[in-house]
């Protein structure tokens, strides 16, 4: 495999999945082209200004900033459905429409759903 697409469709902090996806994506940067796709409730990870100190868990937005070379795409229709259109989003992310999102999946050698 030369490229991998991690698909995240669950909200951050509700389960370990978002953290797991970020970690797996980060280690995969070593030797592969990595894309992390946020879909469905996964798009909540795109919101800026996350503060997880009271939860006692790592700040997931910070992990996105730390691994700036990780390509993260956000499924726009999911953002629109959740009325996140007017929210401030993390600036390193790329917004993609339905077509581009699926093109990115198809263009990757493998798809890993967490």
């Amino acid at each position: 495999m030369k490229s991998v697409f991690y698909l995240l469709d669950t909200a951050p902090y509700s389960s370990e999945k978002a953290f797991g996806a970020l970690n797996a994506a980060a280690v995969s940067l070593n030797g592969m082209n990595v894309t992390l796709g946020l879909y469905g409730d996964g798009v909540y990870l795109a919101a800026a200004g996350q503060d997880s100190r009271k939860l006692g868990v790592p700040n997931l937005a910070d992990i996105l900033y730390a691994y700036g070379e990780l390509k993260v795409i956000v499924h726009e229709p999911s953002l629109v459905e959740r009325d996140l259109l007017g929210e401030t989003l993390i600036e390193t992310l790329e917004l993609t429409d339905e077509e581009d999102f699926f093109e990115a999946i198809e263009g990757s050698d493998c798809l890993i759903l967490l």
Binding site: N59, A66, E76, V80, D97
Partner: protein, 265 residues
């Protein structure tokens, strides 16, 4: 959130997508039919994109005709004049403080090193671009709104929202040193109240790029040699990801270095 603020966010959202930027640029030269726009950006997602542009009040839809709104026209124009505005803003800039160092994460290129995330307050926002000349190897990216600087091995990125990410750090105290010096450089400039004189971009030498390429002339990038690949890179005719070998683990360090270098081209 004031009405004005939420409006700006809708506009930012609308303009954060390549297809929609294509549409607004296309409309800048005159009104178009939905048919014509579909011909340029494809029909499948057209309604979706037009709806978002309309919600941001950037365009107006009449029957089958799409045109830029008065607001959209001003917005596109103001984008071009933005640089001048930011320099005026500079005298209003407030000194920054490092609010907290939030977490250490492993570095990918070198497992003995870390990445660090810190917060800078107040968020530097638009003044970042103006600060670029303060750093000998600084480069501002319009796309992410981040300023990348490099000192020795350490690569630092400051984002407009105040996030600071540092790569290739030995430990937390080294991170604090880097952040301290960052803060001092920025605050000195702010204290002067005058924007630093813009400088010419750092010149990236062809040989420096070549030095970090695998130099195997494997031809997988469909260039004859790594040297000709370097020339094309300098000319902006190819992108770094065309070099397949760089993705191999043994070249991770090289790739990270080249990524930074190519930012300056």
């Amino acid at each position: 959130m004031s009405g004005n603020e939420s409006e700006t966010k809708l506009v930012n959202f609308a303009m954060a997508n390549a297809t929609r930027r294509k549409i607004t640029n296309f409309l800048a030269n005159g009104d178009r039919s939905t048919e014509e726009i579909g011909g340029i950006v494809g029909k499948a997602m057209l309604d979706f994109h037009l709806k978002i542009l309309q919600q941001a009040s950037l365009i107006e839809l009449e029957e089958e005709t799409v045109k830029l709104s008065e607001y959209g026209r001003n917005f596109l124009k103001s984008k071009k004049e933005k640089v001048a505005e930011e320099i005026v803003d500079f005298s209003q800039a407030k000194p920054v403080e490092i609010a907290e160092v939030r977490q250490l994460l492993p570095c990918i290129a070198d497992s003995s090193k870390f990445r660090v995330i810190a917060n800078m307050a107040p968020p530097p926002g638009g003044i970042l671009k103006v600060l670029e000349p303060l750093f000998p190897k600084g480069s501002y990216s319009d796309r992410t709104g981040g300023l990348i600087t490099q000192k020795g091995e350490i690569i630092t990125t400051i984002y407009g929202t105040g996030k600071v990410s540092i790569r290739m750090i030995k430990n937390e105290s080294e991170a604090r040193e880097v952040l301290e010096s960052l803060r001092n450089i920025i605050n000195e400039a702010i204290a002067k109240g005058v924007a630093p004189a813009p400088r010419k971009k750092v010149r990236v030498e062809l040989m420096e790029i070549y030095k970090y390429l695998p130099q195997t002339n494997c031809g997988k990038c469909s260039e004859q040699s790594c040297y000709s690949f370097a020339i094309k890179l300098m000319a902006g005719e190819v992108t770094l990801d065309k070099c397949k070998l760089l993705k191999e683990p043994e070249y991770t360090g090289n790739q990270e270095r080249l990524q930074v270098l190519t930012e300056y081209i």
